[in-house]
Amino acid sequence: MLSTGSNVSSRLLKPALWLSVRLVSERTAAASPQQELIKKRELEKDELRPLYMDFQATTPMDPRVLDAMLPYQVNYYGNPHSRTHAYGWESETAMEVARKQVADLIRADPREIIFTSGATESNNMAIKGVARFYQSKKRHVITTQTEHKCVLDSCRILESEGFQITYLPVHKSGLLDLELLEASIRPDTSVVSVMMVNNEIGVMQPVKDIGHICRSKGVFFHTDAAQAVGKIPINVSDSKIDLMSISGHKIYGPKGVGALYVRRRPRVRLEPLQNGGGQERGLRSGTVPTPLAVGIGAACSIAQKEMEYDHQRVSMLANRLVQRIMSEIPDVIMNGDPEQRYPGCVNLSFAYVEGESLLMALKDVALSSGSACTSASLEPSYVLRAIGADEDLAHSSIRFGIGRFTTEEEVDYTAEKCIHQVRRLREMSPLWEMVQEGIDLKSIKWTQH
């Protein structure tokens, strides 16, 4: 298996050498201020990968989740739907335990959880499934303009099938107008879909109030809680939620798995998207991937235990980041309501600086932007447009994502680098120059391209 003698020792030496070089360089820069830290990172940038500050895009898997999953990849690999032998029974037990873990996090019954391939599939199932089931009597669906693309695209497909969709506008804060929602509900509305926490601006919708309105009008309420589950306390009965989408890889679980909560009392019926052997109550046929299900279960149970601690820590780090940046540079706007938000998603617009150039400047921090240049279609983010951000501010926005594994050092480094680079880019910006000279940018007639 292994070659003996000198080969082993030379192979042992390489990682040891690498370790010692790292230690030496760390020691020489031990007690230095922030600037020295930045210089050291610049020098080592070939060795190191960027800091991860994009927790809304995806999250690293918690090592405890990996530990829970591994036995089911190599040892207990049976199909959970095999009824006739121990491999099937042990996989099924594990799957049911995971189901209970997911259900406990949202205060639901385990029989109401369906495993899917992710929140996108859950959203598709919920919206298209419910709308199509009740289509003989109800042909209207309500959603908002700030939903995730999968919800908006599912609604677009329903429109082409002859349904009527109302896309509700939002306030400048990103919050939904409840009176407008109530007024928009018609007798033929089958489902209302409003996401709990927005993935771009972090705004938290008043889900309890929306649930009450929908229940009182006899309309199903679906919420895309991919960014909210495991981060804020959720109770599906209190909030009168009928359908909820959960994503595995947003809560430090594996990628490729999600769940859909489908209420049993009062019963929500839906037309399945994926047909087959009738697994998952007939709503989602297909073998449930036991390791992935165990993974999302473990992630949910860890999240339940650590939710409060994580929330406090993330709030503290987010405040630190925002305070540092906003106190040092002027003309920075936070997009979205400052109070009704999940603190870990910070979306800032830096006036007179373009988003993609700032991302390039912050190349050793992994971030995301709402700017046109970063999207393939050259259109700025539709969420920012929906909250009424000025077009040029939509091009200048950066999203900072903070999560369970973010350290104070990372936040400080990001803030320092951001301040430094924004100042530099503003020096390069003709708009900043014009504003300094006292010219009102809105009065200029720009050349159209």
Partner: protein, 169 residues
């Protein structure tokens, strides 16, 4: 029993391999960086970034683009009596490719005559910076900026001539 032994020895050898051969655990890191080296270079070391006196008679200023589109370029040229561009400065609100395009534009116009500078094409800028198709509009805006600066200079020269003519008469 047999199966258990096989899988446990498989796992043992896998973990040993991981320990000795670091490259097995880390994926191939020749990931394609979205920004070409030249574009990054122009951002880190911008050539001719700054401003010239826009009220001066021999300075032409071109301001193109719109903040709503996410791209604004200001290109200024200083021309001597012989019609040769002696200095050029730029300022850009835009993505990395836009900054690089305008920086390169200022580099190229320096030393050219006013007529030669008109011949600079956006395709040359794009080829030099290896811009991907989605960023070609940045090079077009740079070409527009050059043309706008030259036309502004021409208008100023025209005004100067008219003034001189009026003064004489």
């Amino acid at each position: 029993m047999c199966g258990n032994m096989a899988t446990s020895s498989l796992r043992k050898s896998a973990s040993l391999m991981l320990f000795f051969n670091r490259s097995l655990s880390r994926p191939d890191r020749t990931a394609v960086c979205l920004y070409h080296k030249k574009v990054v270079d122009h951002y880190e070391n911008p050539r001719n970034m700054g401003s010239l006196n826009k009220n001066s008679r021999d300075v032409g200023t071109g301001l193109v683009g719109a903040p709503a589109c996410g791209d604004v370029m200001k290109l200024q040229i200083q021309v001597d009596e012989n019609g040769k561009i002696v200095d050029a400065k730029f300022k850009t609100f835009g993505c990395g490719s836009a900054i690089a395009s305008s920086s390169l534009a200022t580099e190229w116009v320096k030393g050219k005559t006013v007529d030669d500078a008109l011949k600079i094409k956006n395709t040359d800028i794009a080829k030099e910076l290896c811009l991907p198709p989605v960023k070609l509009h940045c090079s077009m805006l740079a070409e527009d900026a050059i043309k706008a600066a030259l036309s502004d200079y021409r208008i100023k020269q025209q005004d100067k001539k008219e003034e001189l003519a009026k003064a004489r008469s």
